[in-house]
């Protein structure tokens, strides 16, 4: 199985995009993880998140489990998930077959905005992480 190689240049480029599109829009934290549950990179800060490693592992498992649910209704996969909390909510977007982006935001930020901005990030973030360029 191939390894995922992350360079500082890739991290900086992805952080800039995420900062511009999501963190400045009020999202507390954005994490990009892989399907094995590794944290590829993370931006922003949410003091409520004390164990990002567990969050990444459970998110990967959650995505895997919902993919199985999708197959039970004749779908290949669900490409996005949304979990609504009282104070914080989570939006998960599959970037490709290996990468998942999760955004954690308060109820002051609209889900519609997150969805639009996350969709805009999908292609460039994927391209930077896979190829090193947009």
């Amino acid at each position: 199985m191939a390894s995922f190689i992350l360079t500082q240049e890739k991290v900086n480029a992805v952080h800039k995009l995420i900062d511009d599109k999501l963190i400045r829009a009020g999202v507390k934290k954005v994490m990009i993880i892989d399907e094995a549950g590794n944290i590829i990179t993370e931006c922003g800060h949410d003091p409520a998140i004390t164990d990002p490693t567990a969050l990444a592992a459970l998110t990967a498992a959650n995505f895997g489990a919902t993919a199985q649910i999708a197959r039970l209704i004749g779908e290949e996969d669900f490409t996005l998930l949304f979990h609504k909390g009282e104070n914080s909510s989570m939006y998960f977007l599959r970037l490709d077959e290996e990468l998942i982006m999760l955004s954690i935001f308060s109820d002051e930020v609209s889900l519609g905005l997150i969805r639009c901005r996350a969709d805009e990030l999908l292609a460039p973030v994927k391209s930077i992480l896979k190829n090193g360029t947009v």
């Binding site: 191939a2 991290v11 498992a61 489990a65």
Partner: protein, 204 residues
Amino acid sequence: MALIDLGKREIHCKIVYYGPGRCGKTTNLIYIHHAMIPKARGKMVTIDTKGDRTLFFDLLPLHLGSVQDFDIRIQLYTVPGQIMYEATRKLVLKGVDGIVFVADPLQVRRQRNKDSLAGLSNNLAELGVKLSEIPIVLQYNKRDLTESEIPTLSVSELSSDLNSELQAPEFTASATLGEGVFESLRAISKLTVHQVAEKNRLLE
């Protein structure tokens, strides 16, 4: 799929403890969690049922020090052993870099060990990985039971059943007592990190 962060000089690997139900996979992780200093380990995450069996997986992140300027970070996972959770086992195996196969020595579970190893091979194949190409160690657990009246398999019987083709490093263990737990972990960590580093030409 190992993650190599060149900026932070970190190598992240995923090691999965695999084996039939009730063979002691979670017990291995619990022992490691209790025995390691808090600085070297993260929080253990467990998703189990009320009946004490693993429902989805257990996770224990470890920091194993550094090798040639790279920090080695390992995530230990277990799979649920019960037969009906095949789909879950496949999910947990995604991106695996190394495997500890934990075998149960009870005579009555002889076939379950073989079935579980065959299941592992099939699940890996579906993920595009050959069992013969991934680092693996075999752990013959519950050796403390050999002194009881419960009929158990000998190490040579287990080895003949499970390791005649693989020829992987094998360890005897009593996970409840901690015997053999760190020997197995050390061996699989070394093999896994070595393979990841070699594939990516990271270490001299």
